[in-house]
Amino acid sequence: MLKSKKGILKPKLDSSNLGLEIGRIATIFKKAGLKEISVPSLLNSSDLVDFYGEDLKLRAYTTSDPVRGEQILRPDFTVPILLKHLRGNSHQAKYFYSGNVWRRQNFKSIIPNEQYQMGFELFDSKKTKSISSDVEAYLLINKILSKYKVNSVTGDVQVLTSAINDLDISDYKKTSLKRHLWRPKRFMRLLELYSKQKISGRNNNLFKSANLLLWKEKLRGIESFYGVRTKTDIKERIEILEEELSQNLIANSEKSFLLKLMRFQSSLRQAPKSMLSLSRVGGTFRKAIENFEHRVELLSEHIDTKTVKFQVIYGLTTLEYYDGFVFGFQFDHGKYPPIAQGGRYDSLCSTLSKKGKSICAIGSMLRMDFLRKT
């Protein structure tokens, strides 16, 4: 039997107990008004690579099929359910799911390649209902796991994006920073590139001013172009870079605020006030904190938010498409992956929604293989 810091860890559920637990959780979902949804285990590769990017192929199992093309074993439920929902006509819907997902793991990993997951996705067309759905989602998982000894951690990507929106820099720079929030190395590199105070000797790749004129000159002389990227595309990018030369860089005070914010953690109860006191803050950030505070208040009606942890960057590296409220539940020891994780993914919805449907969504999954006896 494994020992945790706080004593002996209870054994995993055997298959009959797991079956009972699946039934219990399904009942909770149904009572909460959720409808069971199923999606295929084999998914079309090109649909998925399109928005997960190539990283997917490092984690998912791909199969070859000369007729249907490359197929992928379902690496999670969220994206296939979202795609299915978008194909339908309804805007609002509450689904739950139950089944296997398959992911490659590296050889040291303790996560099984084939894992059983249950979870849910809540879709709505109205942004105004987001906060109450956030609360609904968190409380649902909280209820399911209330018989276990678990801790929860919360985060909010919106807090960071709003702080970036408040920076006194061009939209170009803001967009670049925001789209790399999930990739810390590239994000920090951009933050350096866009800052007034530079680490000495650093190569400023994106903005080599003297080159821009030379590039334009060269471009005029070129006659043969091929491929999708046109002469106009190149010209436009050079013009953007040129325009950026005269634009603001991130002030030192702003940069240190951003770095402070990224390191911020406290109890959920305390978080709104403490974050506001970090520095002089702009309007978008203030608005995000107001929303945040509203969510904390609603949650506090049901749970003790002083015991819930909050970290601004919680889940940024592991929960890549989440862009708002995020949460995770864990047993009292750090060795195992979170038993449940979830969050809001509105921008993924708008990226994938081709008909211009406005859809907001929050979801969460439970790693059933990691449940233990109580």
Binding site: R179, R183, N205, L206, S224, G227, R229, D233
Partner: protein, 231 residues
């Protein structure tokens, strides 16, 4: 019998032969299917098997070969976690080739990975698709670009003539082997500053499993000693 895999054609084959003759080992044809089997003159314990350089890594892993000489790039590409099953006995001073990113020369604004990442994002915005990268080296390319945190790219498998993929409209960018840069130039492609994925050359590889079982074998020891000899 020690099964020794060597490249069956090309410049690499000639360089390997030279490497052997410097160490007093002469390759001679053996038997009927002479093109793909050989032996060292006077050495009855070593069976030389000639095959495509790109097949050598996997055959060592599978246990069909005990030793092999091939490019490091091919080992990295064909076997993830290759260090778990293959021993790199000696790095050789031939077969140099770099695996590089090639972009059209007229992309004068693209000179770094930063630029490539940004252009890939523009592709997504303007053409609603990822930047397409054609390569024979899918695994290395994917790992390299993800490690560098480049986004919005998609890898297109190419079995050969990769340098033509852009003109053919199959891809926007390529990743390919370049030893002198001449092929890239001929196809109006250029490299970018931080776009070298692997600096490759030939090495002697030994199956770990085989080595563990036979390391006290006198014949094997004699052969390996001869191979690692610096001339």
């Amino acid at each position: 019998m020690i099964r020794f895999g060597l490249p069956s054609k090309g410049r690499l084959k000639k360089q390997v032969e030279k490497f052997f003759s410097e160490r007093g080992l002469e390759l001679v044809n053996a038997g009927m299917i002479r093109e793909y089997l050989a032996e060292f003159k006077g050495e009855k314990k070593v069976q030389i098997i000639l095959l495509a350089a790109s097949d050598i890594p996997l055959e060592i892993k599978k246990g069909n070969l005990d030793i092999g000489i091939t490019g490091r790039d091919l080992v990295f590409e064909k076997i993830l976690d290759w260090r778990k099953c293959i021993l790199e006995l000696k790095q050789l001073n031939f077969g140099e080739a770099d695996l590089v990113i090639g972009v059209p020369q007229f992309w004068i604004d693209v000179n770094h990975l930063d630029d490539l990442d940004e252009v890939a994002f523009f592709f997504r915005k303007k053409y609603s698709r990822c930047l397409r990268i054609a390569t024979k080296y899918q695994n290395i390319t994917r790992e390299f670009l993800i490690e560098k945190q480049v986004t919005n790219f998609e890898i297109i498998e190419s079995q050969g003539a990769t340098e033509g993929a852009i003109v053919n409209g199959i891809a926007d960018v390529i990743v390919d082997i370049s030893s002198t840069g001449e092929t890239l130039k001929q196809n109006k492609l250029k490299t970018i500053e931080d776009g070298t994925l692997v600096k490759s050359f030939a090495s002697i590889f030994v199956s770990k499993n085989y080595y563990k079982k036979n390391k006290s074998d006198v014949e094997l020891k004699r052969l390996l000693d001869r191979l690692v000899l610096d001339i």
